[in-house]
Amino acid sequence: MLEPEIAAHPLDLEKIRLDFPILKRTVHGKRLVYLDNAATTQKPQQVIDAISDYYSNYNSNIHRSVHLLAEEATEAFENTRLKVQNFINAQSTDEIVFTKNATEALNVAARCTTSSLKPGDKIVVTEMDHHSNFVPWQQIAKEKRAQLEIVFTTEDYEIDESDLESKLDGAKIFAFTHMSNVLGTINNARKFTRIAHEKGALVVLDGAQSAPHIPVNVQDIGCDYFALSAHKMLGPTGVGCLYGKRDLLLKAPPFLLGGDMIREVHRDRTTWNDLPWKFEAGTSNIADVIAFAAALDYLTRLGMKNLQIHEQEICKAVLAELSKIEDLEIYGPKDPERRGAVFAFNLGGIHAHDIASILDAEGIAIRSGHHCAQILMEKLGVPATSRASFYLYNGYDDVDALSKGLHKVREVLN
């Protein structure tokens, strides 16, 4: 993120909320308190309008056509690529590949980095990785008879650095999450990338939770691949991005095959298109890629640094409020500077689904379950947790609502 050098200023929540039409709705007669942002965020009117505008005014297939609609659509589509490049500070638009979500981006990264993997080679992941950054590596390891190592999480819910150091010895790939979608832990991506590179491993960083919440600078971090999902950062569903260093993407085999990603097709052979299109087979999700630009504009206008400060304030409030509730255990770092505003917790012996259902009756949307992190659940020794996650439109009133809601849960089930 190239952040303008201005003094941080607080978010104007009242104004922001007006941009999100869904926040006007009620749930079971109560004001909607949306705390399921780690799953997907709500969308501002600007993003919704960008989609309608595209379909109403210049919908067309892109790249290969010379008519005016196609030119307008192509320009808008490629313009989003430039915005993503700037948002994460990649070196070139060649390095930005559109996928359908972060999961596909991670699958592509896994294929890119493992095409010449040999039996016995080592792939390292962590206990706090999302299934989307775990299962692809586990299965490729199986397929190629490589070795999968899983770095431990400490009691403070951080990556265990000494375990990391030792497991990275001789590793070919290190895939890890920038920010945990359960613990909230923000990993020191720059430092871990440096260590991995020193040991000769490629680094795949899962930014699905970091890109929406903190400034990201892939060149500064130094990672080789970085994945994000638009729908977790105000954008539409159906769009993800894979960043990959240009020279690596150039050498990597394509993933999906078909229209648009080819240069020349012959009966006996095919050559691939230039970057980044080599990785974009078939008709892209044109409307939603275009609308994603409106989401990036929205975030950039607020300023990722301001957003981060806002969320740290929310963190403090949540940690303070929840610590007052008896028998409530939060799984995650206590320091607001080292974590995002996503809180996994359990409340006494009450099942996470019961908590979520009773909160829902109060208009509060949280998530319950394993959060696509069963390895971590196993480590924490719980079958499931509740999870409340905040974003830029959430304020202290939402923290209050959560706290009151949890007291209500107690009342009903104790």
């Binding site: 079971h28 099942h351 079958p383 499931a384 089930l413």
Partner: protein, 137 residues
């Protein structure tokens, strides 16, 4: 709404589970889980004279699944095999006070019934049909 979902009946069975535990040497045992939320339910049954003569449940999970399991053991106890066959989704939900569960939580309520039916068919040397299995998950 919570009041719609956590009916008195459910809260009562949840807080004071009946028939929780294990039988000494059950004639039939079945166990299943709901992968979405980790609910686990086990049912143990004994039969005599074509009737359910003993039944216990065991498990781990949310209030809905555990209350449903406990309530179901009481409903089934003493019934003939033919009567037990006829217990379906509607019967179960009525007995739970017709809570407003929604598409996701209803699976929690139905899991015990699926497990109990599985145990019954196992005892009879049959197996659950795909239709019935689908109607309960």
């Amino acid at each position: 709404m919570s009041s719609d979902m956590y009916k008195e009946i459910i809260l009562d069975y949840y807080k004071n589970p009946r028939n929780k535990g294990t039988l000494e040497s059950p004639q039939s045992v079945a166990r299943d889980s709901n992968p979405l939320c980790g609910d686990v339910v086990e049912m143990q049954l004994n039969f005599s004279d074509g009737k359910v003569s003993e039944i216990k449940f065991n498990g781990d999970g949310c209030a809905i699944s555990q209350a449903s399991a406990s309530m179901l053991t009481e409903v089934v106890m003493g019934k003939t095999i033919e009567e037990v066959r006829k217990i379906d989704k509607n019967v179960l939900l009525e007995n739970l006070g017709s809570p407003n569960l929604g598409a996701v939580r209803i699976k929690c309520a139905l899991l015990p019934l699926k497990v109990m039916k599985t145990a019954l068919y196992q005892y009879l040397g049959e197996s659950i049909t795909r239709e019935e299995s689908n109607s309960l998950s």
